[in-house]
Each structure stands twice: as structure tokens, then as C-alpha cells.
């Protein structure tokens, strides 16, 4: 008779694994990736490829030679970080910028804390913020890329948020700026030229969000609470003074709000565990983002907002517990 296996219960296990969850995130990111490649062409491919390759390579090298542990590349989390980092970069960025971003993201933000699950800050955002501070010129220049889709070659200029910020600083009102630049919400929803690779299409991000919800990869609370907070917060300011403050729809569709709230704020490791904690986390991100957008020096504040709220996660986890059975 063959030797029987003996183990404590339960004896069956769900098919979901870390790897399958990460694969689902990669699939959810595909629409954004495809849109960015279509509109930014080969330069987007170069950024994406170098970011992913360096993230994976670094994780492999660090686990193998520095930590001397079994490899963790197979869980695909480095691929996710690489794609998200690439989507956060201007498609015209040179390959070595992506490499430096990968070194900070994987080497500093992730592996120094002990690898997947141990890091406090979202690796991709840490990488992006590092680059934004170190190479502000490269990180805020969009243009010169030639896309695959006819008609839209050689895009140039600043992001809508940057245009608004600049205009306001020069003393223009929102109406004047909008009139001068011919912003269209429909265009923002589909392809919003100007911005990092992942920011250009709101629709692509929303498709990814719906996919992740359907596959039960994430729960909707963090994303929705960020979007709602951004909407409400900007709505109040807009109603008070529409000439100085942009309207809610503009704020939701432009910049990194959608990309950040769907793919970055929902990162398991750096977001709260409970739904209640997730809502607090989301509200915090929404408020900080809008404060930076309206009053800060940077036109966009999503990355900073997520990083700041990442640091509050342990505290939120400690105080937001889910309701226990049979306890008041």
C-alpha cells in the first residue's frame, strides 16, 4: 500500500495563488499598456520593456546573490511593479531612467524591507517619485513620440493639469484656459494626449478595474472612496469659485487619479486590510491629492498622496478591525 499523506485540515485549497492574483493584475493592466503603445509607439515599448526587464532582473539578482533565498520572481509581482512603473513614466523617457526607477522600486522600496509583503511603500510609486524629484525635466516632458495610430503623430505639450496650473499662475481663469486649449471630456475618457503612458486613457483603466473586480482580485472600496473624495472635494471648491478651481469631472479624468486609485492604491501590501480601513485610506488619498493639485507646487499629487497614506496603513490596520462574530 502506498504511504498516505497526513496533514491537519483543511485538505483542499483554493486555486488562487499569489501568482494567479498577480497575473490577473497584469491582464487588467493590458488595456492601458495597449493604448499607450498605440499612441506613443516604439518609445512606449522601450520604456515598458526596460522597466519590466530591470525590475524582474533586479529581484532575481537580489534574491539569488544578496539574500541567498529561493527566487521569488515566479510570483510575478516584479512584473506588475515594472508595468505600473512604466505606465507612470513619460513615454519619451530614456531607458536608463526606467532602470534607475526600477532600482529604486525593487532594490530600495521592496527588497530592503524583505521582499513582497514586507514593504511599507508602494514600490512603483516610490520609483516614480524618486525620478520625479531627481529628473524633473525628463519626467514632465511629453512629446516627440510617434504613435502607431494614424493622425496622431508627434504629440507634444504639457498635461492638462500642468496647463491649468501654469495658466492659473499667470493669472488666467479656468474658463480662459479651457477656451484656449479646447479640452474635451470625451477625449479625456478615451485618449487624453499628454501625460504618462498610463494616464492617457481613463477608459482603459476602468476596463482593468472592472476585470479585477470581476475576478475578485480587489474589493472596490479603496478605489471608489478615492474617486468620490476627489469628486466631492473638488466639487465644493468648484462651486465656490469656478474661475480658480477646476471642476470634478476634469479632476477625475485627468492625471493619475484613475490609474493610481485602481492599480496603485489598491496594492495589497501597502493598503489597509479591512474595508473600513480602505475607505479611510481612500478618503485620505483623495484629500491629499486635491490639496496638492489646488494649492501645491506640483500640478499632480496622486503619487505623493498614496505614499503619504501608505505610511499610515499600519495605524489604520490597528484601529480598523472588521466586526467580530458575536461581539458588540
Amino acid at each position: 500500500m502506498n504511504k498516505l499523506l497526513v496533514s491537519p485540515s483543511p485538505h483542499i485549497h483554493t486555486k488562487t495563488s499569489t501568482r494567479s492574483l498577480m497575473l490577473d493584475v497584469v491582464i487588467a493592466l493590458l488595456p492601458s499598456v495597449i493604448v499607450s503603445i498605440l499612441y506613443y509607439g516604439w518609445s512606449a515599448v522601450v520604456v515598458l520593456a526596460s522597466s519590466v526587464v530591470f525590475c524582474v532582473l533586479l529581484e532575481y539578482l537580489i534574491t539569488k546573490y544578496l539574500l541567498k533565498r529561493p527566487g521569488t520572481v515566479g510570483d510575478l509581482s516584479a512584473v506588475v511593479t515594472g508595468i505600473i512603473l512604466a505606465l507612470n513614466l513619460p513615454p519619451t523617457a530614456p531607458w536608463w531612467v526606467a532602470m534607475i526607477g526600477a532600482i529604486v522600486a525593487i532594490g530600495v522600496a521592496k527588497m530592503t524591507f524583505g521582499g513582497l509583503g514586507q514593504n511599507v511603500f508602494n514600490p512603483a510609486i516610490t520609483g516614480r517619485v524618486f525620478l520625479l524629484i531627481s529628473f524633473p525635466a525628463i519626467m514632465t516632458t511629453w512629446g516627440g513620440a510617434k504613435g502607431f495610430i494614424g493622425g496622431v503623430d508627434a504629440v507634444s505639450g504639457a498635461t492638462p493639469l500642468g496647463i491649468v496650473k501654469e495658466g492659473l499662475m499667470q493669472g488666467q481663469t479656468i474658463d480662459q484656459i479651457f477656451a484656449a486649449h479646447d479640452f474635451s471630456y470625451l477625449q479625456m475618457l478615451f485618449v487624453n494626449i499628454g501625460g504618462s503612458a498610463g494616464e492617457i486613457s481613463a477608459l482603459a483603466v476602468i476596463i482593468g478595474f472592472i476585470y479585477m473586480l470581476a475576478r475578485r482580485v480587489i474589493r472596490p472600496y479603496i478605489t471608489l472612496s478615492i474617486l468620490l473624495t476627489v469628486g466631492v472635494f473638488s466639487g465644493i471648491f468648484w462651486l465656490v469659485d469656478p474661475s480658480q478651481y477646476t471642476d470634478p469631472l476634469f479632476n477625475l479624468l485627468t492625471g493619475g487619479v484613475l490609474l493610481g486609485s485602481v492599480f496603485m492604491a489598491t496594492d495589497y501590501v501597502t493598503s489597509p486590510m479591512s474595508d473600513k480601513g480602505g475607505i479611510i485610506f481612500g478618503v485620505g488619498i483623495g484629500i491629499i491629492t486635491m490639496l496638492i493639485r489646488y494649492f501645491g507646487a506640483y500640478p499632480e499629487g496622486m503619487s505623493f498622496a498614496i505614499l503619504i497614506m501608505n505610511s499610515t496603513v499600519p495605524l489604520i490596520n490597528k484601529f480598523c478591525k472588521q466586526k467580530k462574530f458575536g461581539r458588540a
Binding site: I12, H13, T18, R219, K324
Partner: protein, 453 residues
């Protein structure tokens, strides 16, 4: 909206592949080994010795404490030995070994099939029959039924819930008895209803068993038409979700009352009994037949002959497997009970107990654990926990022996349903760690509260 419990839960594949197999009577083996520790509480004290001749249904073990139970011989024959014999976990436990001869029933047992529907009015008589016939809860915990039916003074039940949820994948023994012995189950429910003095009995069945729901409804209706003793017995369809059959979860699903931490169902006025227990109660009271056999599902995709068998208590597992054609090559693990809470069998020569509900075979691919990786803090374990606990946190605290914090985080509420380990994408053996720490915390709590009383 169908009812279910309010927090957590998981949805493993149903896999009730033996549902279509009618209950078949297993021939008695040549030798049976009847354990003296078949119930929760103190083991029974053997009252026979080697060389004694025993009849089917004769008492061979007496309760040794308040929470203990009678054990009866399931066969006629000669006692070969009263000695330690290895149970399915390989641990030596006192067993009575009997060499089997043709059945000769002990006196006073009604072995006919007629359904006796008249409910005896003397409560004492019913409870004594339940006790003397060794009836224990067959839902898994094997708690002596007579003790459960006599709440401590000052506490009063207002609802009896019959557990027909059978939420574990693969298991079909409860399903089969609900199809084939529904009348007996309803009579058993009426007996317990009379003992408890409650007006309402709810038979909770999950939605994936429509035939059982129909049959049970029909039986309840036809008996209610005949006598007022059967008034107030209803069948409730529950949503399919594991662990619906957990006592606390079932009470929550049916009554929306939540048993407090470390509390008992009676605290919220509920008593839960399994449908199989109800059948045993019927046989014990109406037929004076001791609990000497039970329905055992033998199943698994790799097992060629799916079966539901009526098995005498004490039958060696290996005998059952041989009868059904032997163990398949591809079977890597044998489990007594369901895949979520069942016990892995280490010793196939062990004998069945009163509470044995199934023998399940799983292949290596189905059951082998994957290596543990880093926690990714996805919170899926907390989402799945039906008690609203945070297994990821308990796991960390337990590995550092932080018992005060474990108690604050309610580890003592864990019902060991396995949802956390089942759902963990990083394959962390959460329940393995939590189970041990929970035992330690409960010991600490008991140690603290005991001297005060």
C-alpha cells in the same frame, strides 16, 4: 433572498459525486473494534471482559462522567480482547475487540421498519432512552445528545434547529438519509421538540439539495396533518456557503442571533442537532435501538465506487475499502469526514466510530500543500473568516507566543473551519498555527476563571 450567516465564508466546489448512490447495507466484518472514546468528554468504561458473549445492542461501555456516553456492541459475538488499539490517528485508545457471529439482537429492540409516529409524552422517558442508547451528536463533535437536550437550569431554548446543511464538499450521507429516512428524521425532531418544550423547529438545508428539501417538506407536512405533535416543524432553504453547518453560523443564518464569544447556543435560546442525530434519536426512542450503525459516504474522484453505506460501528476502515474494491493507486490521502474539517487517516486499520460520516480519498494534486511564501497582506483570510477574525494577525502573534494579544484578538472564537488556510494565496498554514495557539489561550482563560468560581 435566501438566508445565510452574516460574516465571511468560502465557496469550495460542491463535488457531491456520491449523491446519487442509495444507502447500501455493508455486510458485517469478521472482527469489529469498538472504541470506548467515541464521544466528546470522558471515555466510557468497558463493562465486558475477554471471553464474554455479547448480543447486538448490548451495553459494553458505561459513561464514566457527566459528559460521557454508553457504548453498545454493534454485533453479536465473543469478546476477544479489551485493550488499546490504534485509532485513525495512530494513537492507542481502549477498544473492545469482538469476533463476529450471526446477529442476535438484545432484548427489547424493535428491528422492524414501521414508522412509529406516536410521541411519548413523558420527557424523562425520552431522555433516558436517548442516554441509554448512547446517542451522540453526529454533526462532527459527537457531544452526548442527552446532555445537550437538558439545558442548565435558568436557560430555556425557544428554537430547535436541525442541521441538514451538509456544507462540506463531497459528503452525502446526510443528504441520503434526508431522501430515504425523512419520516424518521421528522419524528426525531418532534421528540426533541417535545423534550425541549419549544414551539419551533427549523430544518436548515442548503439550496444545492432541492430533492432533500422537497422530501423533508413533504414528510413534515404529512406528519403535521396527522398530529399536533408535529406542528411548527418547517424546512428552511439556505444559501450555499461554507461553513453553514457550523453551529454558530447556522443559528445566525436561521435566527439572526449571534452566540457570544465563549458562549453556548443555549445562551441565545437555540439548540442545534444534526439530521443524522435526529434519526438516531428516533431509533433510540421509538425503536429502543442503540446507536450501533451510521451512514458513511465513501467517495473521491479517484475512488472507483462511490457509495453511501450503512456501517456497523467498529468496522475496520480497511474492511470497507476492501469491500468496495480496494484503495486506488492514485489516492494520496484518506480523510475521515469532509475535506475542510475532516481528519486525515494515518492508520487504515482503525475502526469506524459513531461519528464517522465519510471516507474521502484525494489525489496528491488535490491535496498536497504548496510551499509557504510571504504574506502579501491581501486580507483574503480575514474576508473568509466566518468569525470575523484576522488570521494573518493571529498567525504572526502565535508564532511569537504572544498569548495576551492573541486573546485580545479573539483567537478563542476560532471554530477551526479552515476557511483561512483554504483561501490563502501564499499557502501559509494559518490554521495549523492558530489551532495550537487557540488551545493554549483557552487553557490560559480556563486557568484564570476556574479558581474564582
Amino acid at each position: 433572498m435566501k438566508k445565510t450567516f452574516s460574516i465571511g465564508g468560502v465557496h469550495p466546489d460542491d463535488k457531491k459525486i456520491s449523491a446519487g448512490c442509495a444507502i447500501e447495507v455493508l455486510p458485517t466484518p469478521k472482527t469489529v473494534y469498538i472504541s470506548m472514546a467515541q464521544h466528546l468528554g470522558a471515555p466510557a468504561k468497558p463493562v465486558v471482559a475477554a471471553g464474554d458473549r455479547v448480543k447486538t445492542g448490548q451495553v459494553i461501555g458505561e459513561p464514566s462522567a457527566f459528559i460521557s456516553a454508553y457504548v453498545h456492541s454493534s454485533v453479536t459475538g465473543t469478546v476477544k480482547s479489551v485493550a488499546p488499539y490504534r485509532d485513525l490517528a495512530g494513537n492507542p485508545v481502549m477498544h473492545v475487540e469482538i469476533t463476529v457471529e450471526p446477529d442476535e439482537w438484545a432484548e427489547g429492540i424493535d428491528t422492524t421498519d414501521t414508522l412509529v409516529t406516536e410521541i411519548p409524552q413523558d420527557v424523562r422517558f425520552i431522555v433516558d432512552r436517548i442516554k441509554n442508547n448512547g446517542v451522540v451528536g453526529l454533526g462532527g463533535a459527537t457531544f452526548p445528545t442527552n446532555v445537550k437536550l437538558c439545558p442548565p437550569p435558568g436557560k430555556k431554548a425557544d428554537i430547535l434547529i436541525l442541521n441538514g446543511a451538509e456544507c462540506e464538499p463531497y459528503l452525502t450521507s446526510d443528504y441520503r438519509i434526508m431522501l430515504e429516512k425523512n419520516g424518521q428524521i421528522v419524528v426525531g425532531a418532534a421528540l426533541m421538540k417535545h423534550v425541549l418544550g419549544v414551539d419551533r423547529v427549523v430544518i436548515g438545508i442548503e439550496e444545492n439539495k432541492p430533492e432533500a428539501i422537497a422530501k423533508m417538506k413533504e414528510a413534515a407536512a404529512s406528519l403535521a396533518a396527522g398530529s399536533s405533535d408535529y406542528a411548527g416543524i418547517e424546512v428552511m432553504t439556505l444559501k450555499k456557503k461554507y461553513p453553514q453547518g457550523g453551529e454558530k453560523q447556522l443559528i445566525d443564518a436561521v435566527t439572526h442571533r449571534q452566540v457570544k464569544s465563549m458562549g453556548l447556543p443555549i445562551d441565545v435560546g437555540a439548540v442545534v442537532q444534526n439530521v443524522a442525530t435526529s434519526l438516531a434519536v428516533y431509533e433510540a426512542v421509538q425503536k429502543n435501538k442503540p446507536l450501533i450503525d451510521n451512514t458513511v459516504t465513501v467517495t473521491g474522484e479517484c475512488f472507483p465506487k462511490q457509495s453511501n453505506l450503512l456501517v456497523r460501528v467498529g468496522t475496520p476502515l480497511s474492511y470497507i475499502i476492501e469491500y468496495l474494491g480496494g484503495m486506488p493507486e492514485s489516492a494520496a490521502k484518506a480523510i475521515s469526514g469532509g475535506p475542510m474539517m475532516g481528519k486525515a487517516i494515518a492508520n487504515m486499520d482503525a475502526a469506524t466510530l459513531k461519528g464517522t460520516s465519510s471516507i474521502l480519498f484525494l489525489t496528491r494534486e488535490q491535496t498536497k500543500r504548496n510551499p509557504e511564501t510571504n504574506c502579501i497582506r491581501c486580507g483574503k483570510c480575514a474576508e473568509a473568516c466566518p468569525m470575523g477574525l484576522e488570521p494573518f494577525l493571529l498567525n504572526k502573534l502565535a508564532r511569537n507566543n504572544m498569548y495576551d494579544e492573541l486573546e485580545q484578538n479573539a483567537i478563542q472564537d476560532c471554530i477551526e473551519c479552515g476557511c483561512c488556510l483554504y483561501s490563502c494565496p501564499a499557502n501559509i498554514p494559518l490554521l495549523d498555527v492558530i489551532r495550537i495557539a487557540k488551545g493554549e489561550v483557552i487553557r490560559i482563560i480556563r486557568g484564570r476563571t476556574a479558581p474564582k468560581k
